[in-house]
Amino acid sequence: MNRILRWNMLTTSTKVSPDANVVFTEMENGESVLLHLGTNEYFSLNETGTLIWKGISDDRNLGEIGKELENTFDVTEEQATQSVMRLVESLLAQNLVSVKSG
């Protein structure tokens, strides 16, 4: 069953895709930097954010990414899902990703 969180209709089966103008660079320390070539803005992601971004880039849905977060960081399903949704909402707000249709 899909779980719907918040008013913006992100669900665990939602997929988002990185904007074509975004350059992702992963650092040795597990963090990463996103550079949006269109706006010249840059953002840093911690280890959790980096794992989420890589899941997005691998075309996984938000539920699958949450599951990986759960396994990697030993957090509950609820915590993992909330982390994923919060970050994806921020990425959408900054036009770094967009929701895939279908």
Binding site: N21, T25, E26, E28, L37
Partner: protein, 324 residues
């Protein structure tokens, strides 16, 4: 006319001009402003061709993107070609094939030296990027074969620190524009700009240079181009391997100090200083990869600069040595 060959960051650069007098003028200007060595090559990696002044160069601006547009320089991009327009002078940079074709008219030579320098510098950076050589907006100095990159916004103390260390026996690669080259042995920094650009405000801290500064050419209003190599023998070096990354900040503290920072903070600070004019996605990906590799071979610090930089620069020199 025939090609004149330079070497830039390990690549052969050909200069051909249809007007003989102009080739000598450009050669002299390039030797004055950039760290280029004489070279020999039958097939240069990069090639400039300048047509007779006054000739019209056909440009196709349909669908071109405006990258930059200031009073003295406009930059358009169309596919893999840039058009640099400065007054009535045009330079078309074919990034894919490593070629520049241009016309330099009389108004180009009447511009301030700083604008002339920027015009060619941009074209060099554009041509070098597909050759795995990336521009870095920073000063680079060297001591005991250890390279130190000094990066930061205008007014952060880069030039003051650089000049202080060079006067203390360190060597200068370049100020403001260096080239990073990714090799199997690591990332090397190559000098690009020759001389040290100093504002008259910065030079006030170095009264021992006042006579030399007075005789130095003006880059623009309030800025001089110091010929460091002539002033201080053996004070320059063409390349080094960077091991320390410094982000300075001038403060009113008495004593300078180093504060170690992590790779992510350093990367963000570097991005802020990287040339923003290149917007080809696949090249930027590679450039970011080079910056990432650079961070793996360097230690990064915020450098809080105090008055000891002026009162006892040897103290600051010792502090920088401890950063290795």
């Amino acid at each position: 006319m025939g090609n004149f060959i330079f070497t830039i960051a390990g690549l052969a650069l050909g200069l051909d001009c249809q007007a003989p007098d102009q080739r000598d003028l450009i050669r002299e200007l390039w030797n004055r402003l950039y760290v280029l060595e004489n070279g020999t090559s039958l097939s240069p990696d990069l090639q400039y061709l300048f047509k007779i002044p006054g000739q019209v160069i056909e440009t196709n601006s349909e669908g071109a993107e405006v990258i930059s547009d200031s009073l003295h320089l406009s930059v358009l991009r169309r596919k893999f070609e840039y058009t640099l327009q400065s007054g009535s002078s045009t330079l078309i940079v074919d990034v894919e094939n490593g070629k520049c074709t241009g016309v330099l008219n009389e108004d180009f030579w009447e511009q301030p030296l700083e604008y002339q320098r920027e015009y060619f510098l941009l074209s060099f950076l554009m041509l070098l990027q597909p050759k795995r050589r990336y521009g870095l907006h920073a000063n680079v100095i060297e001591n005991d074969n250890i390279g130190y990159i000094i990066a930061g916004p205008a007014g952060s103390g880069k030039t003051t620190l650089t000049l202080s260390m060079v006067l203390s026996g360190w060597k200068l690669l370049s100020d403001d524009a260096n080239i990073l080259y990714d090799t199997p042995q690591g990332i090397y920094a190559y000098a690009l700009r020759r001389g040290l650009s100093c504002t008259t405000d910065t030079l006030k801290h170095f009264p021992e240079l006042s006579a030399a500064a007075d005789e130095s050419p003006n880059l623009s209003e309030g800025k001089k181009l110091l010929d460091i190599e002539s002033l201080i023998p053996e004070s320059v070096t063409p390349r080094c391997m960077p091991r320390v990354l410094l982000f300075p900040e001038i403060t009113s503290e008495r004593t300078s100090q180093l504060i170690s920072i992590g790779d992510t903070e350093a990367m963000i600070a570097l991005i802020e200083q990287s040339p923003g004019i290149m917007t080809y996605h696949h090249l930027i990906v590679k450039q970011m990869g080079v910056l990432n590799s650079l961070l793996q071979q360097t230690h990064s610090y915020r450098l809080i600069l105090g008055s000891d930089l002026f009162d006892s620069p040897e103290t600051v020199s010792d502090l920088l040595h401890s950063a290795q």
